[in-house]
Subunit: 130 residues, 2 copies
């Protein structure tokens, strides 16, 4: 039923880079990794489940924060080694800093510095506890 | 002038994953990697320059195809280990298959197969020669 998964070019660690995009606004929300088990779990549950490289375990997005991502569509790239997932973001917050998107460090026009571009929607302490 | 580059968390190979997005349509065009030299070259030239992991050399996007990417804005993520680059795509083609985007292999609604979702704008033979 999912023969295309066999054609994926996993990296040397058996992982696939995953870009997560809001399905309506097209804003990039975050970037993470999946292994085959987390990809299959994501497909069956229609929610994003990643592989946490730091914690070395499956990471059900939203398990702690409540900010799950409901999968609307998925695309593999031309080399079948990168996945794009378009999602409905619960709570409107994808980032652990309480922002909508993880990509809030904007390079300034003269390239000299980073500027914060993205409001904190909810205090992380209220999301995760102290 | 670019102290923020020192705060980047390069991976074990000294590389940074880069997501390339059309600055107007917000469509994801491609995914590639930069090292510090290609990031600095991209910043100074305002065009994307990647590190080709397969060819092990700098890869000036559009050098062969003419389909350069003019950088409009750049964002680092919360962990400062992923870069998002918003670009104006010359020729409207980012993919070596002659398509606008590399992400044209859409996972079917029942997850059973991949469907092509993206027209070939220009025959690759006309872009690169035979």
């Amino acid at each position: 039923m999912t023969d295309w998964i066999k054609s994926i070019a996993w990296n040397e660690d058996g992982l696939l880079p995953v870009i997560v995009q809001d399905y309506l606004s097209k804003k990039i929300l975050m970037f993470a990794w999946m292994n085959e088990a987390s990809l299959r779990a994501s497909l069956s549950q229609k929610k994003t489940i990643f592989w946490s490289r730091s914690r070395k375990k499956q990471w059900i997005k939203g398990e702690e924060s409540g900010h799950a991502q409901n999968i609307k569509s998925m695309y593999l790239d031309c080399d079948q080694d990168v996945l794009l997932v378009q999602v409905e973001q619960e709570g409107g917050i994808a980032c652990h800093t309480g922002r909508e998107s993880c990509f809030f460090n904007k390079v300034s026009a003269d390239s000299s510095s980073l500027e914060i571009d993205g409001d904190i929607v909810k205090d992380p302490k209220k999301i995760y506890g102290d």
